[in-house]
């Protein structure tokens, strides 16, 4: 990981898991490609058509509130989203991002900094997000206990390695 540059898709506060990935699909849609196709369906149907791998989602407070359904985080991973930048996250959602191996950073003072289509750059080594006006914000690195999950590419891979070690 190092530098991620992408086009921004900007949303407000309290974007919930039902609008990211509707509950009606949670038991009927299981194929990653199909899950990806429903991403942001009830918030912004244009998102899946316009976004390209590496793009960045920018949101306000409490992103991903609501259900624990992890498809709402995995759908972005399946689409190849570069990262999510939000003022704050719902806690289960934040965990689901880590478990998906999807970069999610918490940055304060985002409001009005970015509009749809702007270019945003994240430097994961320095812990910075650069905005089009030249300003930048910082974010805290992941605690070492959790960084391992991201480095492994997600919780599946992390636990798989752990089980291998446990079983010698």
């Amino acid at each position: 990981m190092a530098i991620i540059t992408g086009k921004a898709f900007v949303y407000g506060d309290n974007v919930n898991t039902d609008v990211i990935f509707p509950g009606k699909y949670t038991y009927s849609v299981t194929d990653p490609k199909e899950i990806a196709a429903h991403t942001m369906e009830d918030e912004d149907p244009a998102f899946v058509k316009e976004m390209k791998p590496g793009d960045i989602l920018v949101a306000g407070k409490n992103f991903g509130c609501g259900s624990s359904r992890e498809q709402a985080a995995f759908c972005f991973k399946y689409l190849g989203l570069g990262a999510i930048v939000a003022e704050s996250y719902s806690r289960i959602y934040y965990r689901n991002c880590i478990n998906a191996g999807l970069l999610a950073v918490e940055v304060k003072g985002l409001a009005g900094k970015v509009k749809r289509g702007d270019t945003v750059t994240i430097d994961t080594d320095k812990g910075t997000v650069k905005f089009p006006d030249g300003s930048q914000a910082t974010f805290a690195p992941l605690p070492p206990e959790i960084e391992g999950i991201m480095k492994a590419g997600g919780l599946d891979e992390f636990i798989a390695e752990k089980l291998k070690k446990m079983n010698g």
């Binding site: 719902s90 636990i159 752990k162």
Partner: protein, 418 residues
């Protein structure tokens, strides 16, 4: 410096002296999963899992789509049953027993000092009986199946003191909606919420469960209350012995990130308007809203006390023309009790449909999905856009009293307005 409930239970479970902010590996007493178990099983296998780390740790309740509404749901259930048999899991409940959170409470898993993680956001419910319980993702549940453990951060705490005597028709649901309106849908983000005060002391266990169930709607990691005689009486009826409980109380000098004190006597009957729990309005302000459907039940308000309140209003009355009533008991225990008390007859005579215990239409998968532009007044916990299966429909959250009165009137109402 004293410790909060969260700091104490994390310290106790790990044998370490922990404060808020610490990240630790914990072995939960139980890990709850439901219809998502078959998807979790796929992840478990992908992780290389063969035997679960501790069969006694798994609690599986089929509730989300019961009975199965299509072949896919039926196959998910079938895979789960096969897994339960293969791994010889002792804690499995078939569809029809009830909503996982009510089953966890009635079967004695939720008890003082228990540490429970669940792959469902409303796992927070069990704190009303003195447990620490929180929601996690599916992959994390698979991780616990495989290794027995999960990483968690010790949360900061928010103290919520509720005082006073509520007005007539004001229930726990109105009080929790008042809190939502006051602090917002992220007002308790990452916090462990500790509820106390004479209002809580006077609440039934059913009412207390409303607060802990809905604490996640305020962003909380968990909700908790001190177990008292009422809690132990409830636990005793449900087969839990006092010696199998560990009462963990916060210290008097514990440090809280925030404290909220509320006089419940000032609260009016409330609703949460679409599409957010914190868009709170009084019922009086909302009387122009016509209800196409009313849902009474769910893991928030589907207990016998809730059904009694609804029946009190619906007895001898009819559901308004143009409005449909769905009643969803939270468990088979509630269902049987409601049948014995004649409540189900009251609902059906009023023109309602009594659904089988389960999650029903709450998550929009089956049993009461709305058409475009329709409005449901629901006693559930979530009114997100599209939540009940149609993204151009609307959900208002309300108490059982308000929901029942609304079913009779056809527009949002308190029982006084009938």
């Amino acid at each position: 410096m004293g410790k909060t409930f969260a700091e104490k239970i994390f310290s106790l479970k790990t044998g370490k002296d922990l404060r808020a902010g610490a990240i630790v590996m914990v072995k939960p007493d139980f890990v709850l999963t439901h219809d998502n178990s078959s998807a979790i099983l796929s992840t478990f296998k992908k992780m290389g899992g063969k035997k679960v780390a501790d069969p006694k740790q798994l609690l599986i309740v089929l509730d989300h789509i019961v009975p199965a509404n299509d072949e896919k749901a039926a196959t998910n259930h079938q895979k789960t049953r096969q897994f339960v048999a293969e791994q010889k899991l002792p804690h499995f409940y078939e569809g029809g027993r009830g909503i996982c959170h009510q089953v966890a409470v009635e079967e004695g898993f939720a008890r003082p000092g228990a540490f429970i993680c669940g792959s469902d956001s409303h796992t927070t419910t069990y704190g009303a009986l003195g447990a620490f319980s929180t929601g996690i993702g599916r992959s994390e549940a698979a991780g616990i199946w495989a290794t027995g453990e999960i990483w968690l951060k010790v949360p900061e705490s928010m103290k919520v003191v509720l005082k006073g005597k509520p007005k007539k028709w004001v229930t726990a649901k109105d009080v929790v909606l008042h809190i939502a309106g006051k602090i917002g849908a992220d007002g308790a983000l990452y916090y462990s919420m500790e509820f106390s005060g004479d209002y809580i002391d006077n609440c039934s266990i059913a009412d207390r469960l409303v607060f802990t169930n809905m604490s996640v709607e305020l962003g909380a990691k968990n909700g908790w209350m001190a177990p008292d005689k009422k809690a132990f009486d409830y636990l005793a009826v449900h087969g839990v012995k006092k010696e199998d409980c560990t009462v963990i109380l916060p210290d008097a000098d514990a440090v809280y990130a925030e404290t909220l004190e509320i006089d419940v006597a000032k609260i009016e009957p409330l609703v949460a308007a679409p599409h957010s729990v914190d868009l709170v309005k009084t019922v009086v302000e909302s009387t122009a809203v016509k209800a196409d459907q009313v849902l009474i039940g769910t893991c928030t308000n589907g207990r016998i006390e809730d059904l009694r309140q609804a029946a009190e209003i619906l007895k001898g009355r009819k559901v308004a023309k143009g409005t449909r009533l769905l009643v969803l008991p939270a468990s088979s225990e509630v269902y049987i009790q409601a049948a014995d008390e004649g409540l189900l007859k009251i609902f059906v005579q009023a023109g309602g449909i009594v659904l089988n215990p389960g999650c029903g239409p709450c998550l929009g998968a089956h049993q009461g999905i709305m058409a475009p532009n329709e409005i449901t007044v629901s006693t559930a916990n979530r009114n997100f856009k599209g939540r009940m299966g149609c993204n151009t429909s609307f959900i208002y959250l309300a108490s059982p009293y308000t929901a029942a009165a609304t079913a009779v009137k056809g527009t949002i109402a308190t029982p006084d307005m009938l």
